[in-house]
């Protein structure tokens, strides 16, 4: 964290005015939501299902290498679409306004080992409300990494590049463990909590179903292609996991993104909340295909400002939001995917080591961070 507050030049009135201007942008989209948007998400859902079906079909013959390659690529894309542009956004309630019970945050389930309702709690509620607040937003380092110079270094952090890599490969399991708050809940006094046990059971059920489908049923259906189909599904899950981990790292880890102290959210106004979302998120620049494959999380800043606006509208909203960044002289952190991924990884490596030069910091902040 830089010791210079990048928002120090703004007065309280300016921050509230900024909030009002953002509200206007939101209201414009809400008033304009309609048939085209509904048609968009229906088209995406239908395309995803057809692609998955076709890829699984091709994989029945995955004993032939070209079929393996084609099926694996197709299945990887289908799984990414399911998790990113569809699952993540539907579970945010972005499409609830359509009143279609089949495309609704309360009924959707995704191709992921974390059950939708648990993910909604940890992601929509905790992460989006307390974005980048140390000790409250566990997405910061997923509770297993040191992500800020002001966090106390421990020799265990030396391994964090490795944890992060393993987490990337098995990201959906990492998310499930994270949604369960496994670190905390495996402690003796929490382990027997009936609520935790019920949730752990639900995760177990979901994992069993997912594993059975990907690694038993579909390979069995492939007969002689059993092993190659198994390898294909494993690869598709790996590709999906590494891809989503990379996209998500780009959202809050790259250099230039701010983190916040626990007290900073006490009595936060709407304008301040918006400002924290702006300073705590980073975008990925790129083509329309890139935006689509990231589930429009390439527009992470816009998504954090307006998590419930339909994802297909973030691109147009981004133009207006960026203008506000310029108007209020704030840094709009963005860059192409490789640059952002590298930036985030560099931070993971750098913070695995103790700080080069100890910084002067207030004892209160030190205590705060230790407690976190």
């Amino acid at each position: 964290m830089t010791t210079i507050d990048p928002t120090a030049h703004l007065t309280a009135e300016q921050i509230e005015e900024l909030g009002r201007e953002l509200d206007v942008i939101r209201d414009e989209v809400i008033a304009d939501r309609g048939e085209k948007d509904a048609a968009y998400i229906r088209r995406v859902i239908s395309a995803q299902r057809k692609l998955e079906l076709a890829s699984r079909g091709v994989l029945l013959f995955s004993i032939f290498p070209p079929a393996w390659l084609l099926g694996t690529a197709g299945l990887s894309v289908a799984k990414i679409m399911d998790n990113m542009e569809i699952g993540h956004n539907v579970l945010h309630g972005q499409w609830d306004w359509m009143r279609d019970p089949k495309i609704h945050s309360t009924t959707w389930e995704w191709d992921h080992v974390s059950p939708a309702d648990q993910w909604k709690h940890s992601h929509n509620e905790l992460h989006h409300t307390y974005t980048n607040v140390i000790g409250k937003d566990n997405d910061l380092g997923y509770g297993i990494m040191r992500v800020d110079e002001d966090q106390k270094w421990h020799p265990l952090h030396l391994g964090q590049p490795l944890w992060n890599f393993v987490n990337a490969c098995f990201f959906e399991y990492g998310i499930a463990a994270y949604d369960l708050e496994l670190g905390k809940n495996l402690q003796k006094r929490h382990r027997r909590n009936p609520e935790f046990r019920a949730r752990a059971k639900a995760v177990g059920r979901k994992i069993r179903k997912q594993v059975l489908k990907d690694y038993v049923i579909h390979p069995l259906l492939s007969g002689p292609s059993f092993l190659t189909t198994l390898a294909a599904t494993f690869t598709a899950n790996l590709v999906r996991n590494i891809w989503s981990h990379s996209v998500i790292m780009c959202g809050h880890f790259p250099e230039g993104v701010q983190v916040f102290e626990r007290q900073s959210v006490n009595g936060e106004t709407r304008g301040q909340w918006y400002l924290r979302q702006m300073m705590g998120s980073a975008n990925i620049s790129g083509s329309r295909a890139m935006h689509f494959m990231t589930g429009n999380l390439s527009h992470q800043i816009e998504h954090h400002l307006f998590p419930d606006l339909p994802s297909n509208r973030y691109a147009e909203v981004a133009v207006k939001v960026r203008a506000l960044f310029e108007k209020y002289e704030l840094e709009y952190v963005t860059g192409p995917l490789p640059k952002q991924v590298l930036s985030a990884w560099r931070k993971v490596f750098r913070l695995s080591l103790p700080n080069k030069k100890p910084k002067g910091k207030t004892p209160a902040r030190e205590k705060e961070l230790v407690a976190a």
């Binding site: 509200d23 209201d27 809400i30 939501r33 309609g34 048939e35 085209k36 948007d37 509904a38 048609a39 239908s46 299902r49 057809k50 079906l53 945010h92 309630g93 609830d96 306004w97 359509m98 009143r99 279609d100 019970p101 089949k102 609704h104 945050s105 309360t106 389930e109 995704w110 191709d111 992921h112 909604k120 709690h121 929509n124 509620e125 989006h128 409300t129 979901k206 179903k209 997912q210 059975l212 489908k213 049923i217 579909h218 259906l221 909340w273 998590p307 419930d308």
Partner: protein
């Protein structure tokens, strides 16, 4: 193993193949009207009837159980991307050979669904259907003399009856502003020419409203006739009074197109939490989540600022206002509201 058990095993296996989706999610892609699917219909044609009324031909899904003349069906139509449900009388006869059904909609001012059906609906569109229902139907034993008393779009259930069942002695009194506003006019006149119907048109723009007290001038033997009446509330209220006055109320059957009366105000209203049976007063600015929690109702909650959708709850009746946008949401089947950013806009019922 019985075939039913075998089928259920096969289905279980199929569910494992498609997890976390259901096999039906994939089948819907190719065959949304198949047996076993959620009941849907496909619009096959839209025929204009008058300047502001149209008949919609619908091919119902295989699960359709068929209707009785005079019944209505609830349909769910996506208007501007949002699914809205309304009830319409079925105007097709029950023995239609091609299995299609028709409804006839009259566009009412500001009516979202009726205007959509009359002016914008296109063939090929899928709509949601419920099974037909309603007891505004003909009895098993045919009455000797029948009177149909209708006004405006109130003619639609009666048209369903006229097309379905022939009687020896049928009189119809129908009210519409002008001749060109009479829905199904050509067909009605055809029935008259074939001597299957005696028809009196009351053109309210020139003749004024029908005075029920003077119905005897149009249909001298009205009191002896089994009567089916459908139209605006004013007409039906007057008819019920008239029939009761003459002691023949059991001969009168009415169907009301209930206008949804929602009192949406700024002052809040009485909130009922129907699952817990609690009722409290709410102002127009306090989120319903807070109101419920204060009343001791176990409310689902989350971010408390409208972003996480952790608090969505069915709105069973009444209206609420979105505290961020001022938008009013009225209760309809399937409508869920975010209680943390919604306040009462008049009396309402929350399913908690």
């Amino acid at each position: 193993m019985t075939s039913a058990a075998l089928r259920s095993r096969a289905w279980k296996l199929l569910e494992m193949v498609t997890t976390p989706l259901l096999p039906s999610d994939y089948l819907d892609l190719v065959s949304p009207l198949r047996a076993g699917a959620d009941l849907r219909g496909r619009i096959e044609a839209v025929h204009p009837e008058t300047g502001d009324a149209a008949t919609v031909v619908i091919r119902p899904g295989r699960g359709w159980r068929g209707h009785t003349a005079g019944q209505y069906v609830r349909i769910g139509v996506d208007v501007d991307g949002r699914r809205l449900w309304r009830a319409y009388s079925i105007t097709s006869p029950t023995d239609r050979q091609d299995g299609r059904i028709t409804i006839t909609a009259k566009a009412i001012p500001d009516g979202k669904v009726s205007n959509h059906l009359v002016h914008r609906a296109t063939p090929g569109t899928l709509i949601q259907l419920d099974q037909p229902t309603g007891d505004f139907v003909l009895p098993q034993a045919r009455p000797a003399k029948v009177l149909y008393l209708t006004a405006g779009s109130g003619i639609t259930p009666v048209m369903g009856m006229l097309r379905d069942t022939e009687f020896d002695d049928v009189v119809m009194v129908h009210c519409a502003p002008q001749p060109q506003d009479v829905i199904f006019r050509d067909e009605l006149h055809g029935l008259v020419a074939d001597k299957k119907l005696r028809l009196t048109e009351v053109h309210t723009a020139t003749d004024g409203r029908l005075d029920i007290a003077r119905l005897g001038e149009l249909v001298p033997d009205w009191a002896e006739r089994e009567t089916w009446a459908c139209g605006p509330a004013g007409l039906l209220d007057a008819a019920e009074e008239h029939w009761t006055e003459h002691g023949v109320q059991e001969r009168l059957h009415t169907e009301r197109f209930r206008p949804r009366i929602v009192v949406a105000g700024d002052d809040g209203g009485e909130v009922t939490f129907s699952a817990t049976g609690k009722t409290v007063d709410a102002d127009g600015t306090t989120p319903l989540l807070d109101i419920g929690e204060e009343a001791g109702v176990l409310m689902p909650s989350g971010c408390r600022m409208g972003i996480c959708f952790g608090c969505v709850t069915p709105l069973r009746a009444g209206a609420v206002r979105d505290l961020r946008t001022g938008e009013i949401t009225e209760a309809e089947p399937g409508v869920l509201i975010q209680t943390c950013v919604s306040a009462a806009a008049g009396p309402c019922d929350i399913e908690r």
